[in-house]
């Protein structure tokens, strides 16, 4: 990788006449551990999809380690990995854990995508990294929420990406599992020098890891460390429904 920068430069996205992102700018240098925080409808998932070249902005420039995802989407998707929100995965489809992870690897090849012994070893290694090696033959819908999230992360890991994009990895998990998943994600950043960009509604499971935070509600309202971003002033701007109750701030979900 020659260019180590992940850049959004005044990126705007509209769906019809409704803005999803307005003049979003930030620059992150590899390796980074960053979280995009914001209310529902803030454009967090849209931002990830723009980075993957799945949604086209109406203006602005994006550079994913020197590559433009609009011009070279397939090259960009080779160096990024993405885990979607669990609610966007169809759990009624009877698919085994090892098949899910295999597709992470085989999708880099051209069809026909046939697993080799080397691939099977790589699949088991990826499952071992997320401590799910004993579940290879399980169907996805037989797993718990945290286990499902681990499998989606294993699918991403097997691709050996420079950057892992995670969309709401904490959704539908209890607090303890959220912390375990955060620990796993942070270990990837530490051990493998993998950049992490995740979307999250709450930062409490991440506090110990001091992530770089992008506070987003269509616009970027603040960038920096937790302490720099999570100020009352910033939160009130990004969460127009925020309410202060004695020394506490309750974050509303108004889109503004």
């Amino acid at each position: 990788m020659k260019d180590k920068n992940f850049i959004f430069d005044r990126v705007s996205v509209f769906f019809g006449d409704k803005p999803a992102l307005i003049d979003v700018s930030f620059k992150l240098s590899h390796p980074f551990f960053a979280v995009i925080m914001g209310p529902n409808g803030a454009g967090k998932t849209t931002l990830l999809k723009v980075a993957l070249g799945l949604i086209k902005p109406i203006s602005g420039k994006i550079s994913v380690f020197g590559l433009n995802p609009m011009k070279k989407p397939y090259e960009v998707r080779r160096i990024l990995a993405y885990t979607p929100q669990l609610i966007h995965v169809d759990e009624s489809v009877p698919i085994r854990v090892k098949e899910i992870v295999a597709m992470g690897l085989l999708s880099k090849e051209s069809p026909p995508r046939i697993k080799t012994k080397k691939d099977e070893k790589a699949i088991m290694n990826a499952l071992t990294l997320v401590e799910m090696q004993d579940y290879a033959d399980f169907f996805f819908n037989e797993l718990s929420g945290g286990q499902k999230q681990r499998i989606l992360i294993a699918r991403a890991l097997i691709r050996k990406p420079y950057l892992l994009l995670l969309d709401e990895p904490f959704s539908m998990l209890d607090y303890e599992t959220k912390c375990e998943i955060t620990e796993l994600i942070y270990s990837l950043y530490e051990k493998f020098n993998m950049s992490i960009l995740m979307v999250a509604h709450e930062l409490s499971p991440c506090i110990a890891y001091d992530p770089y935070v992008i506070l987003l509600n269509k616009r970027v309202y603040a960038l920096g460390t937790l302490h720099e971003v999570l100020t009352e002033e910033n939160l009130r701007k990004a969460y127009p429904g925020a309410t202060k109750v004695k020394d506490l701030i309750i974050l509303g979900e108004d889109h503004g």
């Binding site: 799945l54 397939y74 998707r77 990024l80 885990t83 098949e99 899910i100 597709m103 085989l106 880099k108």
Partner: protein
């Protein structure tokens, strides 16, 4: 054994493999309703085929015209979905388009050749027990197209059904796979209509896949194939024994199998 019976058995096996190779994929990828709607397109294509033969003297077999027309309609549905329309709406549009063509060409064909329309009706209704060599040849060609496609791309089709966004993010060309899957549905719908008629094809498209999933089989492809083979062969034997058209026999057997499966595995 009489020649007709041999042909019937052969047709039953070919149809079983076509249905069994694809039914589980249609069920998993939620394209069953699309496939059923494509049966309207088969009927529309058949009527266009009759008009081409009798109106313009273009000697293309009705089955070929129906097959090509059905594939085109399937590609239209895929494109509509790719352009952001919901699958339901796309199915509604192609069903509406097909029924409009059925009404229009049904009328035009009747003015040209009432006998041809009656033949077409017999074909789509599955009333004929006659299996011609040409039908066997066409089914064989279709089978050699369908089986390699399903075996090669089964993983991708299932994967896209599981996580379409994730598949796109991994670089799978989801648009092309949608075209391929929808075209596969079209080929299956047209080929099943060829041997069983449009009506019973509704059942045959759905039952093997649903049964394979219902039985919770680890090998869905094999379970789907086994179910469709059982359904077809037993159906053809039933039809021969009871002096019914093959479509009736297959429909009866499919219903019995489905009922048994739901009683055994509630």
């Amino acid at each position: 054994m009489d020649n007709l019976i041999i042909k019937l058995i052969f047709a039953a096996i070919l149809t079983a493999v076509i249905s069994g190779s694809s039914s589980h994929l249609m069920t998993i990828s939620k394209t069953v309703m699309l496939s059923l709607s494509l049966l309207h397109a088969v009927l529309a294509g058949s009527l266009i085929g009759i008009y081409m033969v009798h109106g313009f003297s273009i000697p293309v077999p009705m089955q070929i015209t129906a097959l090509i027309f059905t594939i085109l309609i399937a590609i239209l549905a895929a494109e509509l979905v790719e352009r952001g329309l919901s699958s339901d709406a796309a199915i509604g549009i192609i069903a509406g388009l097909s029924t409009t063509i059925i009404a229009t060409f049904g009328y035009l064909d009747a003015t040209l050749s009432p006998i041809a329309v009656s033949e077409a009706w017999s074909y789509v209704a599955g009333l004929s027990a006659v299996v011609r060599n040409r039908d066997i040849a066409l089914l064989t060609i279709i089978l050699t197209i369908i089986v390699p496609i399903t075996l090669t791309f089964e993983g991708e089709f299932i994967y896209i059904a599981f996580d379409e966004d994730g598949a796109k993010a991994m670089g799978l060309r989801v648009r092309l796979y949608r075209y391929l899957l929808y075209s596969l549905c079209a080929i299956v719908a047209a080929s099943l209509s060829m041997s069983l008629g449009v009506f019973v094809s509704h059942v045959v498209i759905v039952v093997p896949g649903v049964l394979a999933l219902k039985m919770g089989s680890k090998h869905l492809h094999i379970a789907s194939l086994a179910t469709s083979t059982l359904c077809m062969t037993a159906g053809y034997i039933t039809a021969y024994t009871l002096h019914l058209p093959p479509s009736s026999g297959v429909g009866i057997m499919a219903t019995i199998l489905l009922t048994i499966a739901y009683i055994v595995r509630k």
